[in-house]
Subunit: 370 residues, 2 copies
């Protein structure tokens, strides 16, 4: 029940442990086509270029930046947590001309700040932001931010690692361009493989690059040669065959449940958690319910509580993992995930019971160590 | 029985399908330390910086190049197959000053050519070569090549994707610097995770870079913060937890068997395959036994045989996969892997029997389609 990796669905684990087959085996090639279709469903897109990156979510983030950004491109990045900061770092390393807009951690990205930044920087080519900040539990209005970016003729790079299948996301309707996620969050699949979809507009920008992509491994033109529908599928790298077995099964499970029902389940079950936490006098980092993630509840550590000891006791005595704060929030919050298969009433009931016991049983410590 | 992914060992499959745990869980951190120690054993190295890259072998190749090479660095790459070509591509994209030395496909890298290239290019900083070429089945003398590189003050980047645990490899004794492999070959583990070890000399060169590594994902300084022994292990990306479960189990199996015995098993069983193939009047791509890989036999397709039909019949009728030729060898060779767990007498016997049947049963075709 941490911020991910979440519990892998038993059917995905079973799929994962099938004997490997060749990454160019006709049976595997059929599976690749199925995976692409299922990814289009969960992303709600018709984008041709839709496939899983052979790496963790941050490899998919890197794939977006290395392909979309050229040295000197003006890029506006919204930072309201760890992952907007990571985007800034990637764009900077690519020698982009980076402009950042900052919001407080726990707040969503402010659309007015984006608008103002684009007004002062009319030559901006790319806007990057995080849909659901895994470090703070805040949801930003991706539709509104993309609408503004488009009005200024910009393409968007959007992090949906924690939002995909947990919160409403409509890649095509909202006009998002390069959108990546992870498999180890609300998809309840294995860490190390990362869904990605790229709009035709973004493909056009990539095709018009003046310089080659600096890394061979991330070059989307080459990867596309392996993942494309064409009959002349060509070898790029060895795909992580077993991880793709698991991903396929996880995606089938989402399709079976239906996206809307999945969103509703996350919303409803997280509500039970919130009610229980408030009965324990615990406060949420994100106060406004309309921008609070259902799949990830970030809870303020009460004064005088040794937060690491609480986590250690949950893990050692009860086999329950919850996450610590990242960056400036280290020591100040807990992050409780209800993602995909982990998002079940029995998990909420058990955690609330155990948390009540552990909190009532703790020695008081001086607030300086809290 | 293709060139990889090879058959995953049943115990590794079982480990793979364990429920996930957090990538910062104390139990997982202990496993990371065990994996690093086991990797040091299979690489025969004491290098501190030894860990699995969260991606396929080519992501580990990219990690070596993006960290070791800076724009303008002179790099000599030996090409005697597909993977030396890939190294050239990576170094070129990083704006290195690339000098290539070429040997015929099926031949090992010629040490004299390397010596001559370094004599004419005394400002060379890096030498890249492939130990065991997966596209041709030829083994190069990594010890000799590294000795020459060192004599000219160069660091080496060495591809051991197909050699690791299948052929003798001594990273420290031979003085290799940045050495990467894959898990889906002789380790009989999952595709998508790639062993890597970096010498202290290479770390020094990386630390002295004038410019930051162009990609955040591959920056070894950041990755080291997660994989290092230090008590302040810090989050970089979400490690592929289940793949590391499987890798650990595969490495334990190698340790149990012992490296020398593993090399000997590959040598001995491949000898049975070679004898059988020659009885079927099939010729090997690499004629000289001293440079022929035991774990990967590359066989010339006889005149007038439709090679794709043979592979299709083996796969569809007998569930046996063998690989096609890559690049200029497409249509001209088959690649038969005997890697790790796949390297068993019963597999050799079965393949030889089936191959005999299929070859005697084929319609003759015109040589133009062969």
């Amino acid at each position: 029940m941490g911020p991910g990796p979440s519990e892998i669905h038993p059917r995905a684990l079973q799929a994962l442990a099938q004997p490997a087959i060749g990454h160019l085996d006709p049976a595997f090639v059929d599976l690749m086509d199925e995976v692409k279709d299922l990814l289009r469903y969960v992303f709600q897109t018709e984008n041709r270029l839709t496939f899983p990156v052979s790496g963790p979510g941050s490899a998919a983030m890197e794939t977006c930046f290395t392909n979309m950004v050229e040295a000197g491109d003006k890029v506006v990045i919204a930072r309201n947590g760890v992952f907007g900061g990571r985007m800034t770092e990637m764009a900077t390393r690519l020698s982009a001309d980076v402009v950042t807009i900052d919001d407080e951690w726990g707040q969503p990205v402010d659309p007015q700040k984006l608008e103002a930044a684009l007004e002062s920087n009319p030559d901006t080519k790319i806007v990057g932001f995080v849909h659901a900040e895994t470090s703070t539990g805040a949801l930003s209005d991706a539709s509104k931010l993309a609408e503004i970016a488009q009005r200024f003729g910009c393409l968007t790079i959007v992090d949906t690692v924690t939002s995909l299948t947990g919160s409403p996301l409509y890649v095509d309707d909202w006009g998002l361009d390069a959108v990546y996620s992870g498999a180890q969050k609300c998809l309840s699949s294995v860490a190390g493989i990362a869904p990605l979809t790229i709009s035709d507009r973004a493909v056009e920008k990539i095709n018009q690059r003046q310089t080659p992509v600096s890394t061979w491994f991330h070059d989307i033109g080459l990867i596309d040669g392996y993942w494309s529908e064409s009959s002349s599928r060509s070898y790029h790298h060895t795909a992580p065959v077993n991880s793709i077995f698991a991903l396929a099964e996880s995606l089938r499970l989402v399709k079976q449940e239906g996206l809307e029902r999945s969103w509703e389940r996350h919303r409803k079950i997280s509500q039970t958690l919130l009610t229980g936490l408030s009965q324990l006098n615990l406060e949420m980092m994100v106060e406004d319910a309309s921008i609070r993630l259902p799949q990830l509840s970030v809870v303020k550590v009460p004064e005088g509580i040794d937060e690491a000891m609480v986590r250690a006791r949950l893990l050692q005595e009860y086999d329950i993992e919850i996450g610590p704060g990242l960056g400036p929030l280290a020591g100040q919050v807990w992050r409780i995930g209800l993602m995909g298969y982990s998002c079940r009433s029995e998990n909420v009931e058990r955690l609330l019971g155990v948390l009540k016991e552990v909190l009532s049983d703790l020695p008081e410590v001086s607030s300086s160590s809290g």
